[in-house]
Every structure is written in structure tokens, then in C-alpha cells.
């Protein structure tokens, strides 16, 4: 029941906005819909915590601790982002950078995007997951090109093609999965693509096919996760789209893609019984972390900068999932949470900063702390948080990941640390002059997020920890 509500609300929102999305009260309505979604998600979470995982709509949908926490996260960030986008979009509108039509498009697509992600998260049917992922892409493509500038068009085009191709690979992977599954589960019933059933029989699935399938799935969904070298769409899309979209792309879409990858990994690992998939994830993750950290050094555009930092963190998460085991998975989930909170908070701050300074070029943004203390502090603290400085939660997850890496793969630790060091120097060196210094010329969400992250650094509520643990076990496949 909660599930239907959860999925219905944003869809309704999309439909509504498609018609009336440019009305003056539209932003408020948008927020209202997001808030309703959040409520529904919370209710759902309550239920799962209460009764444990369950499935719905003859098993097409399936809720377990793993995805329900992502659902809640998605709903929450979706809500805060809508809060942030209210003033942001109004200013854009007043500056005449967007027209009513585009505002309508924006609102409807925003809701659609949220809906798509929720479906992708809750669906039990790998095929449906694919469909939802594709829908999420399509709904954001037009948002990336919202400003109609040449750059934004280019970014949108790259986003569309690269992710399209990638997602096509994922589809082929899904087909192969189905091909392997129907041997065991029989093609007639609809069960052959249901993750729960696959998970139940993963031991008896044909390894050769599954490994092949995994390659396609990994390349496909990996493109959306933004793993190097499949990442090339990501910085452009983040930099050129409106900031709220950058926030949800970084904060949510990447998570959802990672979620899909992990779901597949669980199956394949179970079938192969070899660490190969894990190794692949680790390799991708490590490569992404290192390359991204070096990319950070040469950035001029503030949103590009943080886009690359998203790649870096996705790399860390992928690496952690690749290592597997309860601790690493726990850490990865924690990192997912804190990263999407922090990164979206940063993008909020960046959005305000860019609007204040009237540019996204970092060299032209100076002395935010005098221009507007809240933005300045928000950006500074956010940057420090994302760089893994205590007492913020990112440190907690990175601490766990690093220590686990030290235990299981000592060779990887120095590489990770090197990358983290480089990234630190790069990002902090850019952010500090923007926040401080002489300038040449109400933001609740930021601090709400940072506050949560801060709390997660010092104290992880037992219930949440339990939740993570369940999820981690689930992923570890025990």
C-alpha cells in the first residue's frame, strides 16, 4: 500500500506539472509533492523495519532493508532539493534564463525523475529496473539542456548518447541474465527476471552466461555510475545543467546506478563462486578514484570540480562493494549515504555561490564568506566534509573502508591514500580562496544535510546501524 502511494505521488506530480507546471505556485506544489513522497517513503521504511522485507504486485516489486534505505534517502534528498530549487529557479526565472515552458518541463521532469528512481530502486524485476534507469536518463536529458546554450546542448547530447549506449549494453546483459535464468526457472512464468528468485537459485545459474552478462551489465550501469573510463558524460552534464539537477544527479542517480550494479554483482558472484566480479568492481573503483583525483587538479568550473569529486567517491563506493564482506559493504552503504547528503549540500551551496558571483568560474568567485556568510560556511564545511575530514561522516566510512582495505588488499591502500591526498590538495586549494579572501564585488537544506553528516560521523543511531548491517549481510549474500 505504502509502495503504491510512494510511486503514485511523484507520477501524479509529473502529470500535474506537465499541465500546470509554470503557475506561480508551481515550485511550492513541487515541494509539496516531494514532501508527500518523503512521508510515504518514511512510512514504507517504518513498515520494513517493523515487518522485514516484503514484496508486492505479484513480486514485481520488492522491498528489503537495502533498497528501502536508499528509497528514504532518495525521497529525502529529493525533498530538500525541491526546497532548494524553489528560490534557485525563481532567481533563474527572474534573470530570464528560463521561460515558463521550461519551468513546466523542469517541474514535471523533476517529479518523473524521482518516480523513475524510486521504481528502479523498488522493482524486483531486473528488466523493469532497466526500464526505470532508462526513464531516469531520458527525464534528465532535457533538464540538462534546459538553458539551451550550446554547451548545455553538447552536454545533453553526450549524456544522451553515452548513457543510451551504455544502457543498451545493460539491456543485453539483462537479456543474457534472462537467458540463463529461464533454463532454471522456465521462461513461461514471469519469475525468470525476478531478483528474489534469481537470488534464490543463483547457485545453479550458468556461470559462463552470467559472467558474460555481468560484463555487459557492469559496463552498462557503470556508465551511469560514472566509472572511469565510462564517465565522460558526467562532468559535462553536471556543469551545464541547472544546479538542482546536478545535485540530484550526483546525490541520487549515481547511487541508484550503483545499487543496480550491486544487485547484479550479488547474483553473479553467487553463480560464479569466484571473486572475479568483486575484483572487477575494485579495479574500476580504484581506477576511477585515482584518475578523478588527478582530474580535479585542472578544473576551472566549480560544478565540474565537484562532478569529478563525485566520480572519485563513486569509485570509493564501488571499490568498497568490490571488496565485499559485512564491514566493507556497511562502509559502502554509509559512504553512499553521507556522500549523497554532502554532495547535494555542496551543490546547493555552489548554486547559491554561482548565482551570487554570477559565474561558475572559480577564479572569479572570491570572498563568499563576506558576500554571504551562510553560503561561505556551507561551501567550506561541505568541502571539508567531502574531503573526509572529521568529525564528518565521510571520515567514518573512509576510515572503515581504508582499514578493511589494509586488511584484505594492503596493496590498494597506498593508492587510495595517494588519491585522497591529491584530491584533498586539489579541492581544498580551490575552495579556500573562494570562501575566504577579499571579495571583488535563508539556506536551511545545506546545514540540514551537513548536520546529519556531522551526526553520522560522531554517532550512528543503533537502528540505522542495524539497518545498514542487515543490508550489508544481504549484499554479502549470507
Amino acid at each position: 500500500m505504502e509502495l503504491i502511494v510512494l510511486l503514485a505521488i511523484p507520477l501524479a506530480g509529473a502529470a500535474w506539472a506537465a499541465v500546470l507546471g509554470e503557475r506561480p505556485y508551481a515550485p511550492e506544489a513541487n515541494t509539496a509533492f516531494s514532501f508527500a513522497t518523503l512521508i510515504a517513503a518514511a512510512a514504507l521504511a517504518m513498515r520494513v523495519i517493523g515487518e522485514g522485507s516484503f514484496s508486492a504486485a505479484d513480486e514485481q516489486f520488492f522491498i528489503d532493508p537495502f533498497n528501502v534505505f536508499l528509497v528514504t534517502l532518495t525521497a529525502f534528498v529529493g525533498f530538500t532539493t525541491s526546497l532548494f530549487s524553489r528560490p534557485y529557479m525563481r532567481i533563474e526565472f527572474e534573470h530570464g534564463r528560463i521561460k515558463p515552458r521550461q519551468l513546466r518541463l523542469y517541474h514535471s521532469m523533476y517529479q518523473l525523475f524521482v518516480a523513475a528512481m524510486l521504481i528502479a530502486l523498488t522493482s524486483n524485476n531486473m528488466g523493469l529496473v532497466w526500464v526505470a534507469m532508462e526513464a531516469a536518463t531520458l527525464s534528465t536529458v532535457l533538464l540538462v539542456t534546459l538553458y539551451r546554450t550550446p554547451a548545455s546542448l553538447e552536454a545533453g547530447w553526450k549524456y544522451f548518447i553515452l548513457c543510451g549506449v551504455g544502457i543498451a549494453q545493460a539491456l543485453f546483459g539483462t537479456i543474457l541474465l534472462y537467458f540463463a535464468a529461464e533454463k532454471v526457472l522456465g521462461g513461461e512464468g514471469m519469475t525468470a527476471l525476478l531478483w528474489t528468485h534469481l537470488n534464490a537459485v543463483k547457485g545453479s545459474l550458468e556461470p559462463a552466461v552470467l559472467s558474460l552478462a555481468f560484463v555487459f551489465l557492469l559496463v552498462g550501469y557503470g556508465t551511469k555510475v560514472g566509472l572511469v573510463p565510462l564517465h565522460n558524460w558526467l562532468p559535462d552534464a553536471h556543469a551545464e545543467g541547472p544546479t538542482p539537477i546536478s545535485a540530484v544527479l550526483s546525490g541520487l542517480l549515481l547511487n541508484v546506478a550503483a545499487y543496480a550494479v550491486v544487485r547484479c554483482k550479488v547474483l553473479v558472484e553467487g553463480s560464479l563462486g569466484s571473486p572475479l566480479p568483486g575484483r572487477m568492481l575494485m579495479a574500476f573503483g580504484l581506477f576511477s578514484v585515482v584518475v578523478a583525483s588527478f582530474f580535479l587538479w585542472r578544473q576551472r568550473d566549480i560544478k565540474r570540480l565537484f562532478a569529478y569529486s563525485s566520480i572519485e567517491h563513486m569509485g570509493i563506493i564501488t571499490f568498497a562493494f568490490g571488496m565485499g564482506g559485512p564491514v566493507a559493504n556497511f562502509a559502502a552503504l554509509l559512504h553512499m549515504t553521507v556522500h549523497s547528503l554532502t554532495k547535494s549540500a555542496i551543490f546547493f551551496a555552489v548554486g547559491h555561490a554561482a548565482q551570487k558571483a554570477g559565474t561558475q568560474v572559480m577564479d572569479d568567485i572570491r570572498g563568499l564568506i563576506t558576500l554571504s556568510p551562510t553560503v561561505g560556511w556551507g561551501l567550506m564545511l561541505g568541502a571539508l566534509a567531502i574531503l573526509g575530514l572529521p568529525p564528518f561522516g565521510v571520515f567514518a566510512s573512509e576510515f572503515l573502508i581504508l582499514t578493511t582495505a589494509m586488511r584484505d588488499h594492503p596493496w590498494a591502500t597506498p593508492i587510495l591514500l595517494l588519491a585522497l591526498g591529491v584530491a584533498f590538495a586539489a579541492i581544498f586549494g580551490r575552495v579556500q580562496p573562494m570562501v575566504f579572501g577579499e571579495t571583488s564585488a535563508k539556506r536551511l537544506p545545506v546545514f540540514a544535510h551537513l548536520g546529519l553528516v556531522l551526526m553520522l560521523g560522531v554517532f550512528i543511531p543503533p537502528s540505522l546501524a542495524e539497518w545498514f548491517r542487515l543490508a550489508a549481510q544481504l549484499i554479502a549474500g549470507s
Binding site: 558524460w233 587538479w297 589494509m406 591502500t413 585522497l420 579556500q432 575566504f436 546501524a465
Partner: protein, 664 residues
């Protein structure tokens, strides 16, 4: 008697509360300056007392329901942490009360925010000392770095200060990574990150060495051990003086604490050759720091380099202790250790005193450049006389406290010839020679520091309007100066406290340093003894007698007139030595240390001018190339992103093929 750890924790919590109270009326200098900072000082005193009481009691642990799910916060108060908590409380009390008078509004960060950062800094330092598991340690460690970073960048409008802050946080972070790795090794397969687990862990010699070296790297970076010191001379001058005082006086010591904690407590039995590393680096830092201090022209940079020197001395002592402990000469090891701890506490007082002194000068004159100071002893007698005590103390002159610790260290060095290792027996006494050299140079530096700032003629007309420190600042200065004197005159009692540490480490079973309330006997009476009180008594007696006799037999008439100066009439302020001039012999003698650019006037210059800029070779030879390397790599990586979509598709294509090949 309340639970030791809890009582410390409460006091630290009080600090944090005071900090947040600053946010209630962030703009009000009165609330912050007249209420909160004095309160903070009181808490500091209380903390020092509590620590003194706790030190005598057995170690006591406490677990908080916070932290990671399977790693809650562990806290522990034992002799080692209590000694440093005492240091923190006592020194910070003086600095806080000074700060109460020092911080004014309109200088960078708002007072309230400053108050918050300042007290969080204090609290986090305290928590570092109490932490008993790796996570809490790292957490508070980095919080300490972060809060101090914000304090350093109070005047963030100046680009060089931003640069300083960046450099500081960067190196702090790199060091923290080293420490984290060290902990990763220390847990030794148990994957429990509590210190108890680390104490229990059995490490192979190789891994133990790795852990030690990593820790040395990490803590060395924080302490400013050469060559990881580059942030220190930048950050200390950048910060407001009370903050510099805390950073130099207390924060650097937390690094020492960490090293001791890891080496003697977590690793248990150190191996003798480990000691050589901190010994070598320490000696080098000592000489390096003091030589550069002598060449400085900015009073706070000068003090920062002198801190590097003292850190060098401390690490030398640690190295010596490790060597002694490793070869089983436990009594001497504990002697060296006591010397180190003593010097740590001394330095906390002396250096804080000097830094806050420069703070008052800065406020009175708005001037940090020695070339524009002078003659302030007439304008600000309080600051001048109290600072004199600090200067004499740090120059290691009896009967003040600096001498005691260096004396103990030299005593330890003197027995080093007994170390039963080839060469070591011969080389270690040379270390004593270097320490002596460093001490003597420190004297040189302090004469320069004090003489140029407070004595002679004012080099700028504006100095005539300089005003003396306010009463709160005087109290602060007085407290710290008193600390220097008391620690110098009654070392015995304090040594009793310090000796608990080697006992905790199991180096010695009972106290070995003898003596009574008025004298110290490090090893045995006929070898050496030192009785500062008696010492002072005799000198004072002679002085009094002389004064008396002279005034009785003759007269005490005196009249003022223009200085004679060999009959030269037109004497002006520019004829006295500048800071550069005073440092010239050092620059001359230690040429190889410096990389100097000089601009010398030619005989025909209409308006001749002379400029010299003194750089560190380490910058040009180590740090800049590193940065260059990263840049080049980044450029190479950036080539991946060429903007052509076909290329991107090719990437995916190739990736796909490669991975298919993998599973094939």
C-alpha cells in the same frame, strides 16, 4: 573522589559549552572577552589540578555510547595523558586569560565564532589526550587540526595567510594519513581498533618498525620536525598570538604525546635502533630551527623556528630514551624520558609566554617586523619584563626552567657512552655537543629577539605612542612567567609527577631521580646535583650585598645625559643593529643552510638599498618538484577528456572488449 576520566571529560565538555555560548551574542566583545575567556581559563586551571590529582591514581577507562557501531568511543586517563592534560590546562589558562584581553572585534572572524573555534580547539586537544581507540583519536586529532586551521585563517583577507592555512591543513592531513596507517598496522590482525587491542597485539619486528616509522612520520609532520616543518613558520605568524601560543606551546606537544603513546605504550618494547631515527632528525631540526630563527626578521616567524628547535630537542630526547630502553639501560631511559616531558612542559610555558608577549607588542605597535621595533621597554614595561623571563628561560639560563630540562637531558647524554653498541657509544656524546650548540645558539637568538624589540632606540616614531598591555593580558603574562620561575626553582616535585610516566611504561619500578625539595640528583650525588633555590639565593645574596656595600661605602648618585657612543654626536636609531645585522654572523657561518638572494648596492648608487631574502632549500629541492610532478600527471590525465564523443564511445567499446576478453 570522582571518576578521573569522567572529571576530565566534564571539564572538556565545559570548554565546548563555553565555546558554543560564544554564539549567543557573537558580536559582543564584552561577553566573549570579559566572561567566556576568563571562564575558559578557570576551566584550564581546574583541568590542570584534576590532572595532577589523577596522575597518582591507576589508569582508568571509560566507554561512551557514541562512535562507530562496533567501535564506541573509548577514553582512558593514565599518567602519560595526565601529564599532558596538566600541560594543556596550565598553559591554556594563561593564554586564555591573556586572550580575554587580547581579542577585539573588527579583526577578521567575529569574536563569538572565534570563541567557539578557540574552545573547540582546546577541547579537541584534551580529547586527543584522553582517546583510547584509534577512531576517537583520529576524529579528535583532525578536529584539532580543523579548528586550529580556522583560527589560523582568522585574518583570511590576506592571501599569504590563506596560503599558510592551506599549507598547514594539507600537511596536517598528510600526517594524519600516516598516523592512520600506523594504527592500521598496530592492530596486528585483531582488527580491533581500541588501544587495548593494540597493546595486546603481537607484531613481528618488521611490522613493529613499520608502525613506528609511520607514526614518526605522522606525528613528526604535526610537530614540525624537519623536513616536514614547512607549514610551521607560515602558520604560527599567521594566527592571532594567543592561538600561535596554543599551537606552539600545546598542540605541538600532542604530537609528542602521540609518539610516546605509540612507541612506549602501544608498541610496548621498542627496539634500540628505532631511536636513532628520531635522534638524528631531532638533532638536525634543533640546529636547523635555531639557525633559521637567528636569521628571521619577523618576530613571530623567529619564535616559530625556535619552536622547531625545541621540537628537535624533544625528539632527540625521545630517541635517546628509545635507545637506552632498547639496550636495557632502563634507568637512563627513564631519565631521558623525564627530561623530555619536563622540556615539553617548560616549552609550553616559555613559548606561550613569548608568543603572547609578541601579541601585546603587535597590538601596541601593529608591527611584526623587527626592523620597525625597538625601545619598547620604556613604553610597555610590564610586557618587557615578563617577556624577559620567558626569553631567559628559553635561552636555557639558570635558575629558570629551560635550564633544568636541558640539564637533565645532558646528564642523560653524558651516560650514553656506556651504550654497548659499536659506534653508538662514541656518537651519542656528540649529540650532547649538538644540543649544547643549539642551546648556545638559542641564547644568541633570544638576545636578538629581546634586544631588538624591547631595547635600544625605537626604530619608528610611531613606537613612542605604544601602550602597555591591559590588566587581563598582564595576568596572562604573569601566570605564564610564574610558571617558568616555579618550574625552574622547584623541579623536584614536578619530577615526581613526571616519573610516573616511565613507571607506567614499566621502564622503572620505583623512583630513581633522587634529591629533596631544594635539589635534584638525577643519578647519584657525587655525579651531579642541582639546587636552583640555593643557586638563586647565592646570586641574589651577592647582588644585595654588593648593592648594600656600594651604597654604604660610596654613593648612588647618577645623572642623565646624552649617550656617549665614543663622542659621536648625531646618533640616531638607524645606527643600531637591525635584525638582519644581528643575524649576519649566523648567516655567515651557516651559509650552506640558506638559499639567499641578496641585492647589494653599488658604490655609485644615489639611493643605495640592500635587500636580502632568505629561503629554505627544502622548498626548492623537495616540495616544489613534488607539486610540479602532480601537475604534470594531471595534465597527462586531462588528455583523456578530449570532448569528442566518438572517442568516448571508443573508450566504452574498448573497455567492453577488454572485459569480455577477461571473462572469455
Amino acid at each position: 573522589m570522582p571518576d578521573p576520566t569522567l572529571s576530565c571529560l566534564t571539564l572538556l565538555g565545559a570548554w565546548a559549552l563555553i565555546g558554543f555560548a560564544g554564539l549567543v551574542r557573537p558580536g559582543s566583545v564584552f561577553v566573549v572577552g570579559r566572561v567566556l575567556f576568563p571562564l575558559g581559563a578557570l576551566v584550564g586551571v581546574a583541568l590542570a589540578l584534576v590532572a595532577l590529582v589523577n596522575a597518582a591514581q591507576p589508569a582508568d577507562q571509560l566507554v561512551l555510547p557514541l562512535g562507530l557501531p562496533d567501535l564506541p568511543f573509548h577514553l582512558r586517563s593514565d599518567a602519560l595523558s595526565d601529564v599532558f592534560l596538566f600541560l594543556l590546562g596550565a598553559a591554556s589558562a594563561g593564554v586564555s586569560i591573556f586572550g580575554a584581553g587580547y581579542f577585539r572585534s573588527g579583526e577578521g572572524t567575529a569574536p563569538g565564532l572565534l570563541c567557539l573555534q578557540y574552545h573547540l580547539f582546546l577541547a579537541s586537544m584534551g580529547l586527543v589526550l584522553l582517546a583510547d581507540d584509534a577512531y576517537l583519536f583520529m576524529l579528535t586529532w583532525e578536529t584539532m587540526a580543523l579548528s586550529s586551521y580556522f583560527l589560523v585563517t582568522t585574518q583570511h583577507r590576506l592571501p599569504e595567510i590563506r596560503r599558510a592555512g592551506f599549507l598547514y591543513l594539507l600537511i596536517a592531513h598528510v600526517g594524519a594519513i600516516g598516523i592512520l596507517l600506523s594504527f592500521g598496522v598496530l592492530q596486528g590482525g585483531s582488527w580491533q581498533f581500541t588501544f587495548d587491542a593494540m597493546r595486546a597485539a603481537q607484531l613481528s619486528p618488521a611490522w613493529a618498525a613499520v608502525a613506528f616509522l609511520l607514526a614518526l612520520f605522522g606525528f613528526g609532520a604535526k610537530a614540525g620536525l624537519v623536513p616536514l616543518h614547512v607549514w610551521l613558520p607560515e602558520a604560527h605568524p599567521a594566527a592571532p598570538s594567543p592561538v600561535s601560543a596554543l599551537m606552539s606551546g600545546v598542540m605541538l606537544k600532542t604530537a609528542l604525546y602521540g609518539l610516546l603513546r605509540v612507541t612506549f605504550d602501544l608498541l610496548g618494547e621498542p627496539v634500540w635502533w628505532w631511536g636513532l631515527v628520531p635522534l638524528a632528525f631531532g638533532l638536525f631540526s634543533a640546529i636547523y630551527g635555531v639557525v633559521f630563527a637567528a636569521a628571521q626578521t619577523d618576530m613571530k616567524r623567529l619564535l616559530a623556528f625556535s619552536s622547531i628547535e625545541n621540537i628537535g630537542i624533544l625528539f632527540t630526547g625521545v630517541g635517546l630514551a628509545i635507545v637506552f630502553g632498547g639496550v636495557g639501560m632502563r634507568t637512563l631511559a627513564s631519565l631521558a624520558l623525564v627530561a623530555v616531558l619536563y622540556h615539553a612542559v617548560n616549552h609550553a610555558f616559555m613559548k606561550s609566554l613569548l608568543f603572547v608577549g609578541t601579541g601585546s607588542v603587535l597590538h601596541a605597535t601593529r608591527e611584526r617586523n623587527l626592523g620597525r621595533l625597538g625601545g619598547l621597554i620604556h613604553r610597555m614595561p610590564w610586557v618587557a619584563w615578563l617577556t624577559l623571563i620567558g626569553a631567559l628561560a628559553i635561552a636555557g639560563l639558570p635558575p629558570l626552567n629551560g635550564f633544568v630540562s636541558e640539564w637533565l637531558l645532558l646528564q642523560a647524554f653524558l651516560s650514553a657512552y656506556q651504550v654497548p653498541k659499536p659506534f653508538l657509544g662514541m656518537l651519542l656524546p656528540l649529540g650532547a655537543a649538538l644540543i649544547a650548540l643549539a642551546a648556545a645558539l638559542a641564547g644568541y637568538v633570544m638576545v636578538k629577539f629581546y634586544g631588538v624589540i624591547f631595547l635600544g632606540q625605537p626604530r619608528e616614531a610611531s613606537l613612542e605612542r605604544a601602550h602597555d598591555a591591559g590588566w587581563l593580558e598582564r595576568i596572562g603574562l604573569g601566570w605564564l612567567a610564574a610558571g617558568c620561575v616555579v618550574l625552574g626553582l622547584f623541579p623536584r616535585h614536578f619530577i615526581d609527577l613526571l616519573e610516573l610516566v616511565p613507571m607506567q611504561f614499566g621502564l622503572i619500578q620505583a623512583r630513581t631521580i633522587g634529591g629533596n625539595w631544594w635539589r635534584v640528583i638525577p643519578v647519584m650525588e657525587r655525579q651531579a646535583a642541582y639546587a636552583p633555590v640555593l643557586f638563586l639565593l647565592v646570586v641574589g645574596l651577592v647582588i644585595a650585598l654588593t648593592v648594600f656595600v656600594v651604597s654604604r661605602l660610596y654613593h648612588v648618585r647618577a645623572r642623565r645625559s646624552a649617550p656617549w657612543d665614543c663622542g659621536f654626536a648625531r646618533l640616531d636609531a638607524r645606527m643600531q643593529d637591525t635584525a638582519e645585522g644581528f643575524g649576519q654572523p649566523i648567516r655567515h657561518i651557516f651559509q650552506p643552510f640558506f638559499s639567499m638572494q641578496r641585492e647589494l648596492p653599488t658604490p655609485f648608487d644615489r639611493a643605495p638599498h640592500y635587500r636580502v631574502t632568505i629561503g629554505e632549500r627544502i622548498w626548492t629541492h623537495a616540495y616544489l618538484p613534488l607539486a610540479e610532478l602532480v601537475q604534470r600527471t594531471a595534465r597527462a590525465v586531462a588528455w583523456l577528456q578530449q570532448g569528442r564523443i566518438a572517442t568516448y564511445l571508443l573508450y566504452s567499446f574498448v573497455t567492453l572488449l577488454v572485459m569480455l576478453g577477461l571473462v572469455l
